[in-house]
Amino acid sequence: MDIIVCIKRVPQTAEAEVSIDSTGKSIQKDRLTFDMNESDTYALEEAVLLKEKFEGNITVLSLGYPDTDDTLRIALAKGADNAIRIKAENFENPDAFQTAQILKSVIKTINFDIILTGCIATDDAYSQIGVTLAELLEIPHAALVIKVDANEQRTHVHRELEEGLIEHLDIKLPALLTILTGINEPRYASLIAIRRAAKKEIQQLGKENIELEDLVINSVIEELYVPPVTKQVEILTGSPSETATKLAGIVKEKGLI
């Protein structure tokens, strides 16, 4: 079974103090630690578990700056066979849709049975890339997957929905799954694997190496700001439809749409 795992190197901000940088469009990164996006580590582990079961090949793929090589190397040490970095420096701050288009251009040149991604990146929290990528590749997908039970043609998956509801799906491969944290226990890398990974080449793809259609840009970051602290809080009560009606009324009344 050939598996592609899309990963992202992100600043670890869950417990950090974050401030906006001088461009007003990004955050200050000098005191932040970078690591593989949390749910991507679970996607990678799920890939390694599938490989242990079915054999095959794992390719990790990331659109990132040169320091992303460190993260790709960690993925190699934890069980991936090949790593590809698409040079982010060749693209101007791609949004989620563009990122998915770029990933698609590369993925269509690789054989795969299954693509795994994390379900959300902890930096921009878009949660879009996996599902958009599946649509662009015209393959079935399941998001927020908490259990994978695959054979070589199909996979049975559990998706975790609101209030603990679990949806069971049976999906034909090739398919894309976005993986939730907690689905497995990501492994450590052994020193032997670390040595092996250190020697592997990470394929570097620039814009010139990728056959790209014209990129569609859907969103541009204009400004980042910390929400001002306001004193006005109104808690809406009632059934979901009552509160939704009240909310719609407020939004209209304040001229927000």
């Binding site: 417990e15 005191r31 630690t33 032997i192």
Partner: protein, 395 residues
């Protein structure tokens, strides 16, 4: 838990060479006598079998943390992170081998590949991000000093007092910093603090193996000290002491460091610190590994306690000075959770309580925290106090 390694481990000389480069050069000196194993505090935790003597040989074979089996590897990495860096092994080793340094070499490689306990990752990230391991806000760093009239350090002052993180933020530990400045003020010592500009000394991140971040923190601290014109630093924590004194000079630091017990002992001997009140309590002194074994400061804390009227000074029989047993907090141990019956702190607390003391005197914020936290869940009639607090009570 027994360590039984299955034979999924490969032998790999290349790993040995890298680990030697990262600080494990002692491995070749080991002749497998096993003295280190019996000196290690884990040896006294009867339920747990910690094979200290094996680490040199395994590293020399390049067969450390090398299992390809997921569960087996977890056990190996668990072993690497159990070491509390107390150096009891080094103290007893006939060939002067530092097992914690050997293990730290492996930790460095593991950290680079994100293969270490999550809780320690978070500790490293927080120190890197906000300058303390608890993720507390920088601007609250000097809150402990509110209302105590403690000036910011200015050029020309004799001492910079550096409480470091636990005494800066943790409520119980703040009392050490407060008592310390009380004593300094009483003795009219010229001193100030860096306040919100203070950042963790970084000792724990180095012990965890995050060498790059340690270097970044160290360089920025040295710059801060230089910019402020600091020449002498007075520290509460033996961990800051050893890092500033023995490790910062490698990065260009040029300042003098004193532990508060050294300074207070000197002030008593020279008549500048007069302890007026009596303290009719039985007090046992716990030598912290980093102050004692590592830096050979054994007598100053004892000198202080023996100068207090009424205080009955007790030693832990056999296990004092260089034979003191670690509280379990070093090298990241404060953050790691072990099964209740597998904790080093229980061994040490039992030894201390068996002396019949009313009070355990400590000189390290980690020890204070470790003992206090553990005593909360015990029905014990014993208190823990830092020596600064005892002095302050007697002024």
């Amino acid at each position: 838990m027994k360590d039984k390694k299955n034979l999924t481990t490969e032998i790999n000389p290349e790993i040995r060479d890298i680990l030697v480069e990262m600080g494990a050069e002692d491995i070749y000196k080991c002749y497998q006598c096993g003295k280190c194993t019996s000196a290690c505090p884990w040896f006294q935790v009867e339920i747990y079998d910690y094979p200290v003597y094996k680490f040199s040989l395994e590293t020399a074979l390049g067969a450390v943390a090398s299992s390809e089996d997921k569960k087996e590897l977890e056990k190996e990495i668990d072993l690497i992170y159990r070491c509390v860096g107390c150096e009891a092994c080094l103290d007893q080793c006939p060939h002067g081998i530092s097992t914690p340094n050997i293990l730290r070499a492996a930790r460095r490689l593991l950290v680079d590949f994100g293969s270490y306990p999550e809780i320690l990752k978070s500790t490293v990230q927080k120190i890197h991000n906000v300058g303390n391991p608890f993720g507390e806000h920088r601007e609250n760093r000097a809150d402990w000093a509110k209302g105590l009239n403690v000036p910011d350090y200015q050029q020309g002052m004799e001492y910079l007092y550096f409480p470091c993180c636990l005494p800066a933020y943790e409520t119980r530990n703040q009392k050490i910093a407060q008592a310390t400045v009380g004593i300094l003020q009483k003795c009219k010592v010229s001193f100030g603090i860096l306040g919100v500009k203070e950042t963790c000394c970084g000792e724990v991140i180095r012990r965890i193996g995050a060498e790059n971040i340690f270097e970044e923190v160290t360089k920025s601290n040295i710059k801060e000290f230089e910019n402020s014109g600091v020449k002498k630093v007075l520290v509460t924590s033996p961990h800051c002491f050893t890092t500033f004194k023995n490790e910062y000079p490698d990065f260009g630091a040029d300042f003098e460091v004193q532990h508060t017990t050294q300074y207070f002992s000197h002030l008593i001997d020279t008549g500048k610190l007069k302890i007026d009140k009596s303290f009719y309590k039985k007090v046992v002194y716990h030598d912290p590994c980093t102050l004692g074994r590592k830096n050979k400061i054994y007598e100053e804390p004892r000198n202080i306690l023996k100068n207090i009227l009424g205080l009955e000074f007790l030693e832990v029989e056999n296990f004092n000075r260089n034979l003191s047993v670690c509280c379990g907090a070093g090298s990241g141990g404060l953050w790691l959770e072990w099964e209740k019956e597998e904790r080093i702190v229980n061994v040490r607390l039992k030894q201390l309580m068996d002396t019949g003391a009313d009070i355990i005197a400590v000189t390290c914020p980690y020890c204070l925290q470790m003992f206090e936290e553990t005593l909360k869940s015990m029905d014990a009639d014993i208190k823990v106090m830092d020596i600064s607090e005892i002095i302050f009570e007697c002024l």
